[in-house]
């Protein structure tokens, strides 16, 4: 890859890139730990994970500041400009995912107090899927690979399907056993949170596509993501 003539500028952009990757790593860890806390009914792990959100929030502020500084001092253009605007949006999505992981942990603490519910297959699949999506979008960002990002977007459809499946299963479960209502509501929220992580991962993927191809594919529906590519 061709480097910038101004090496300090090159360094700043690399540092920003690394920071985003680190933040993405932290967010991934928060999600996987919150999922584990749910599965293993481990309120201590959930509480420890909630504390991690602070560093994610700090990441967001720092990255924002660095973007502002580069915008003000370097007036980035073309690919650099797309990178900065992409970075600004990515941190927002990552920070939101961090918040959702906190929400998941809170539900994990609540659920740990109640007797265990019958395992719901769709929920487990969703949890796996969104974690894979997060990992994949981070890789696509690192490799500047638009096609991999587009694949992430397509996987969100499956998340949505699973979510609706989980919804149906939960509803029938709760209608059969009114005592499960309390736990059911928490579990429904968990499903909703996982689905939203999938949405944010999709946003991240769209941002990576814009970063690489310069094409804005948000709100374009399914047409913008051609199946074959």
């Amino acid at each position: 890859m061709v480097r910038h003539t101004d090496r300090e500028y090159e360094g700043e952009l690399r540092e920003l890139n690394d920071r985003i990757l680190k933040m993405a790593g932290r967010v991934e860890a928060m999600v996987s730990r919150s999922v584990r806390a749910l599965v293993e009914r481990d309120p201590d792990l959930a509480r420890a994970t909630i504390l991690l959100d602070e560093s994610v929030n700090a990441d967001e502020v720092e990255i924002d500041e660095q973007c502002q500084s580069i915008l003000a001092r370097r007036q980035p253009l073309a690919g650099d400009l797309r990178f900065i605007s992409c970075a600004l949006k990515m941190v927002t999505d990552l920070e939101r995912i961090g918040d959702i992981a906190v929400n998941l942990c809170e539900r994990a603490i609540e659920l740990a107090r109640e007797p265990a519910l019958t395992p719901i297959a769709e929920l487990g699949q969703m949890a796996l899927l969104v974690q894979e999506m997060l990992k994949e979008v981070a890789d696509a960002f690192t490799a500047r690979a638009a096609d991999r990002a587009r694949a992430v977007i397509r996987r969100d459809d499956m998340v949505d399907e699973l979510y609706h499946g989980a919804l149906r299963t939960m509803l029938s479960l709760m209608s059969q056993d009114p005592r499960a209502l309390q736990r059911g509501i928490h579990t429904l929220a968990v499903a909703k949170f996982l689905e939203r992580i999938g949405d944010h991962a999709t946003n991240l993927a769209e941002e990576v596509v814009y970063l690489v191809d310069g094409k804005d594919i948000r709100h374009a529906g399914k047409r913008a993501a051609p199946p074959g590519v």
Binding site: H4, T5, D6, G214, K215
Partner: protein
């Protein structure tokens, strides 16, 4: 815009030619050289009427030489040669029987360094084009001076000292005086060769603001090595490299997502 166009009775063809977006100048296979040193190579480019075209590129990429071919100023340098065509409203500038002197009244030029005539007053500078060529005739000199200076956004600053020497103005004012001088001849196209490179940011902002206004009436080509200026002031941007046209795109597109790798590398500062 549309009401003005409706009020002026004109043939459909003439109307069409004046419409913004229509090609005012068409450059075809234009090459230029100094002696055996080829500096512009086979350029094909359309310059749209009443739009601002910015030309960017590293030093020595031929951008200045290119614009100087558009009003045949290139050939005044000894040993300079040009091949190819430049059509102005469909007529080849380099065709047989075209008088470069008359052509330059249609295609005006503003230079890098403000260059008001030092021996003339502000007023005389504005009138210089008409006086030099003896075409002032019966036209009302005072009116020409006021309208040209107003167009160049300089009237209010100098109206009380029109007889002061042109050199007594600040750099930015001098450059606007040069623009007024070029406008007084009533050109159709205005070429600007790095018009702000000798000016401070405020004076630069004034000129850029002026460019936005002037594009209502004139077709403007601005050469600049300041990419931010091209981004701010132009509708279309052309990137030159080693005498070749690498890319010509709508400005917004070129600066967010250029088509060519070399453009990307240049505007993000990944050169050399």
């Amino acid at each position: 815009m549309s009401t003005a166009a409706a009020a002026v009775p004109s043939t459909p063809a003439a109307d069409d030619a004046k419409r913004p977006g229509r090609a005012k100048m068409e450059v075809r296979a234009l090459s230029a050289a100094f002696g055996s040193n080829q500096v512009v190579r086979a350029i094909d480019l359309d310059i749209e009427a009443r739009r601002v075209l910015a030309i960017i590129g590293p030093s020595g990429c031929g951008k200045s030489t290119f614009v100087r071919c558009l009003n045949r100023m290139h050939e005044i340098t000894l040993g300079a040669t040009v091949t190819g065509q430049v059509l102005l409203d469909g007529e080849d500038l380099y065709g047989r029987g075209v008088d470069p002197v008359l052509l330059r009244r249609r295609v005006g030029m503003v230079f890098q360094k403000p260059n008001p005539f030092p021996t003339m007053s502000i007023k005389e500078n504005v009138l210089a084009g008409l006086r030099l060529t003896g075409t002032l005739g019966g036209t009302d000199a005072a009116r020409v001076v006021e309208s040209a200076l107003t167009s160049a956004a300089l009237w209010d600053e100098v109206k009380d000292r029109l007889d002061a020497p042109g050199g007594s103005l600040s750099g930015g004012q001098q450059q606007r005086l040069c623009i007024a001088r070029a406008l007084a001849v009533e050109p159709e196209v205005l070429l600007m060769d790095e018009p702000c490179s000798a000016l401070d940011p405020i004076a630069t902002a004034r000129i850029e603001d002026l460019i936005h206004v002037l594009r209502e009436r004139y077709t403007i080509v601005i050469v600049t090595h300041n990419m931010q200026q091209a981004a701010r002031a132009s509708d279309t941007t052309a990137f030159f490299l080693h005498g070749e046209l690498v890319e010509c795109s709508p400005t917004e597109r070129l600066f967010t997502h250029p088509r060519d790798r070399r453009t990307e590398d240049y505007i993000t500062g990944k050169f050399g």
